[in-house]
Amino acid sequence: MQATSWQALQAVMRRDLMVVMRRRSDVLNPLLFVLMVVTLFPLAVGPGPDILGRIAAGVIWVAALLSALLGSERLFREDYLDGTLEQLTLQPQPLALLAFGKVAVHWLLSGLPLVILAPLCALLLKLPLEGWSALVATLLVGTPILSAVTAIGAALTVSLGRGGALLSLLLLPLFIPLLIFASGAVEAALVGTEAWPQVLLLAGLSLLTLLLSPFAVAAAIRVSVN
């Protein structure tokens, strides 16, 4: 009996969750990395609240981008090495759907914890209270973009083995609009204007990326496993 697409999606997601849950350090390390980067900045630029508060949102977002790059290997590397990825391409269900499942799990375990961690980082960097909701909102709608675009890059370079530096070259230009909107939203909140237009735009961008990126990921997987 053939599984429906929905069942296949569930199976992929359940499996990925289980794999990661058995090696929790993969989830924790990128978060600790973000915390470390955030800790470095007060030491580097001085602990005065006027400087820190102004750069806080940017620092947190840049840390998020870098941690996304850091955790990107996890997405497909093991699956590629043990042949799971090849099995997925052979499934009768659309590969894009299964890729979407993987992206969703990746976000659940890297993006969502980051959103939860953000208030702590904001506290450490003395972000004024007006910016908090905007920061959390941008992270909430922006991190899915991070996961989705990272997945494209990770799928493209998975067969290379030494994709790290190349991956940052491929992905960081694609992250720039995200960074600009996100920091713009927090900046708007800080100067007392509405942050929502930018957050909503980011949300739209996020939906568009989630809609289109699975197809790019699927195409990239097919290229890589050949």
Partner: protein, 248 residues
């Protein structure tokens, strides 16, 4: 249409076709570019505000324009290669990318040189500069990915996917940076909004544009020929072609 297009999927046909066109396009590029540049740099009147330094426009604007066009051409080639599996399109991607990088770099460099006397700074984080810089990085990423794989086919396919993803990004970059800029400051950008040009400046500029377009075409064609030779090195027709070249 396929019956008509089909022969052009063969490397040797394209190679010879490009070989026939190349001299004409090259001569055209040299002639038009020389005319345009000499006219623009030496004979066009100086600007009443910017003096002679405005003459950078004759290099800056065409290269900036065609850096974008070349990216789109590259993405179209990637799309064709992806959909119809034409290896010729994959090679076109590799032929176009380096030219695009150079054009983007020239536009950035001349922009900086122009910016120093006009704005008082080599670099300003405003809309156009930033988007052009991102374009530069995108190009480099595509080229790096193309050469990262030991298998050429895989590299071309991977780079093609990245090029297509990047082209979706181009309008987003433009608008997002505009927004970002309007939020912070928009002072430096007004330099771009010059009054409509006088014909004595406009015509040499258009000539330069045509010249640079021909130059880009000629360079891409030459690189395409090289790429075809490199990829088909083991084929008999290449051997014959090279022998004929030696005899002639």
């Amino acid at each position: 249409m396929w019956r008509w297009l089909h022969p052009y999927a063969k490397p040797e046909v394209v190679y010879r076709l490009l070989g026939r066109w190349l001299p004409w396009v090259s001569i055209g590029a040299a002639a038009v570019l020389a005319t345009g540049l000499v006219w623009g740099l030496a004979f066009a009147p100086a600007d009443y505000q910017q003096g002679d330094s405005y003459r950078i426009i004759f290099v800056h604007v065409p290269t900036a324009m065609f850096s974008m066009s070349l990216y789109i051409a590259m993405a179209v080639a990637a799309f064709v290669g992806r959909v119809w599996q034409l290896k010729m399109a994959d090679w076109a991607l590799a032929a176009i990318a380096p030219i695009g990088i150079v054009f983007t770099f020239i536009s950035l460099f001349t922009g900086a040189v122009w910016g120093k006397p006009m704005w008082g700074t080599w670099w300003e984080w405003d809309a156009r500069l930033t988007s052009q810089l991102i374009l530069f990085f995108l190009y480099i990423g595509v080229l790096a990915l193309y050469h990262a794989f030991s298998d050429n086919r895989t590299g071309a396919k991977a780079a093609g996917i990245l090029a297509m993803v990047g082209v979706i990004n181009i309008p987003i970059i433009r608008y997002s940076v505009d927004w970002w800029n309007s939020l912070h400051q928009g002072a430096t950008l007004t330099v771009f909004e010059r009054p409509p040009m006088a014909n004595s400046m406009l015509i040499p500029l258009l000539t330069c544009m045509l010249g640079f377009a021909l130059l880009a075409g000629a360079l891409v064609m030459q690189r395409m020929r090289n790429e075809i030779l490199r990829q088909e090195l083991r084929r008999p027709w290449v051997k014959m072609e090279l022998q004929q070249g030696e005899q002639a």
